[in-house]
Amino acid sequence: MWVYTALATMLIHLTVTTPVWAVLGQTKASVERDRAAFGGQLQSKLAQGYSVETITVGGMSIKEYVSPDGTVFAVAWKGAGVPNLRLLLGTYFDEYLDALAERQNQKPRIRRPLMLKTANLVVERSGHMRNMWGRVFIPSRVPPVVSPKDIQ
């Protein structure tokens, strides 16, 4: 059993000191910390000019895209649920929340797939109850050889 408040407390504590749980925009080492936090299986795959670390957990597949300089420049997920985006987006989570809140305050409130662009992020979500899909990437950190189409 994964205790939410305990991790949240750690998250707050660690954010104050050093954002080791932050994944997006952080180093590849944070992928393993994520895997441990989610309690999943980790697989690595090399692609042309980047690597993909896949965590399989709880009926979800979570991919973290790592550039040659070791930075996680994108995350993507697919499966029965949505992973803990606070953990996955790290220091970018609040930027995502602010943009989402702004869209949710618009009327009429349209039920459709989500597409957000923030100062630093592209956020996309779609799918349905047993098959949710989403990805978040930092366009300025995507290596030149990688197409956004590769992130999914």
């Binding site: 939410y4 009926g59 949710q104 459709r112 797939p113 047993r130 899909w133 999914q152």
Partner: protein, 394 residues
């Protein structure tokens, strides 16, 4: 507190709740298996292309009941979800063990999420007998959580005005909202066991999961039929249609012989091919306000209508639907200028379309698909003259 007046509790005797429930359709009474669906004309379900109905909820095993209006009819989700703030009757909290209530986090594709407890209720659909089923009681503050700090790690809905519904009637293809995945994985991030202020993800047995009430009916339990009339190209201020319970189980729900069936995969997805791109996780979803699909040649409307396309003139398009067993059919559809449509003040449109992420596996056939069609939604594992679900037929 406007909604209080609208969904004000009606404490009924069970015999009155279910219109007798025994199907004694006397002269002038509605068939026991028909829910009336309206789009537009409501004070809560105000959003365009939002079909809503009412259901009756009772304290399990009692005659203490309440009718809830403005329930979004959603073929893209599974189970009954109601804001706790509109419920005035006590239900029965599902627990993992004594003192540990079960909560659920339900995510939607638009980035929204619902947090709340899982409670056992008797649900009455139209004049059918009550079924006892776990439902999601939406409450951002359940188990000491808040709208911004909660196990969803996502903003969650706080009230019907914000969400634009009192609840959701999820009557899609599936019996359980999560299924085996949440039964075998304790870190599913959807079902939680809570104490007063902390919640942890747990494996949830199927019997505890939020379920489609239709599959639990004694009869009429193999699916539903959506029948909504078409509207003119400029839209309509409102419309009225039906959800008919059961497929081939009564005189009012038999499929016509020339209907085409489209069996989905086990998650309830079909394949759509549009402009040479394949979308293997496509859905036919009354809960989506339009057709949502990527097409870089269609101009997106200016903010704040960026959820829709704004072609200079209405454009006729076509995509091909594929079932898992190889059947295919072209589906023509139209997308008009959404800014012009929305300026009419109408609430129902057959030609509202908008963008979705180009890499997304989903082509979203939203409410416009249902206008002017009779659409059968057959539940997984249930048999009818159309075959064994999950399948759509139209």
């Amino acid at each position: 507190m406007m909604y209080r007046a609208i969904v004000i509790a009606c404490l009924w005797l069970v015999s009155a709740c279910g219109s007798g429930g025994g199907g004694n359709g006397g002269a002038g009474s509605s068939p026991t298996n028909v829910l009336t669906v309206t789009v537009g004309g409501s004070e809560i379900c105000t959003n365009v292309n939002s079909p809503c109905t009412q259901v009756t909820i009772c304290q399990p095993g009692t005659s203490t009941c309440q009718t809830i209006s403005d329930m979004l009819v959603d073929t893209g989700s599974t189970g009954v979800r109601i804001f706790g703030s509109v419920l005035s009757i006590p239900l029965q909290q599902e627990v993992e063990s004594p003192g540990q209530p079960i909560g659920e986090c339900q995510f939607f594709a638009d980035g929204s999420a619902l947090w709340g407890s899982v409670q056992l209720a008797d649900v009455v659909l139209a004049g059918e007998p009550a079924v006892t089923v776990p439902i999601h009681v939406i409450a951002a503050t359940f188990a000491g959580q808040t709208s911004t700090q909660n196990p969803c790690n996502n903003p969650v809905e706080t009230d019907p005005q914000e969400a634009e519904f009192n609840g959701i009637l999820g009557i899609g293809l599936l019996t359980h909202d999560c299924g085996t995945s949440c039964e075998i994985n304790d870190n599913n991030n959807r079902y939680f066991s809570c104490t007063a202020s902390t919640c942890g993800s747990i494996a949830a047995p199927l019997s505890t999961q939020v379920q489609n009430p239709v599959w639990l009916l004694p009869s009429d339990n193999n699916g539903v039929i959506l029948t909504l009339p078409n509207v003119p190209s400029a839209g309509a201020p409102s419309l009225s249609g039906s959800v008919i319970l059961g497929i081939g189980t009564a005189s009012n729900n038999s499929p016509s012989p020339n209907i085409s069936t489209f069996t989905t995969n086990q998650d309830g997805s079909l394949t759509t091919v549009y402009n040479g791109t394949t979308f293997p996780e496509s859905i036919i979803d009354t809960g989506s306000n339009g057709y949502f699909f990527p097409d870089s040649t269609l101009p997106v409307c200016p903010i704040p209508q960026q959820d829709f396309y704004c072609p200079p003139a209405a454009i006729n398009l076509s995509a091909t639907l594929f079932s898992v067993n190889g059947r295919q059919a072209p589906v023509p559809f139209q997308v008009a200028n959404a800014a012009s449509l929305l300026r009419t003040g109408n609430a129902v449109f057959s030609n509202l379309g908008g963008p979705s992420p180009s890499s997304s596996p989903t082509f979203d056939w939203g409410l416009p698909f249902f206008l002017g069609r009779v659409v059968f939604v057959a539940i997984e594992g249930q048999s009818s003259t159309l075959g064994t679900g999950p399948l759509y037929a139209f």
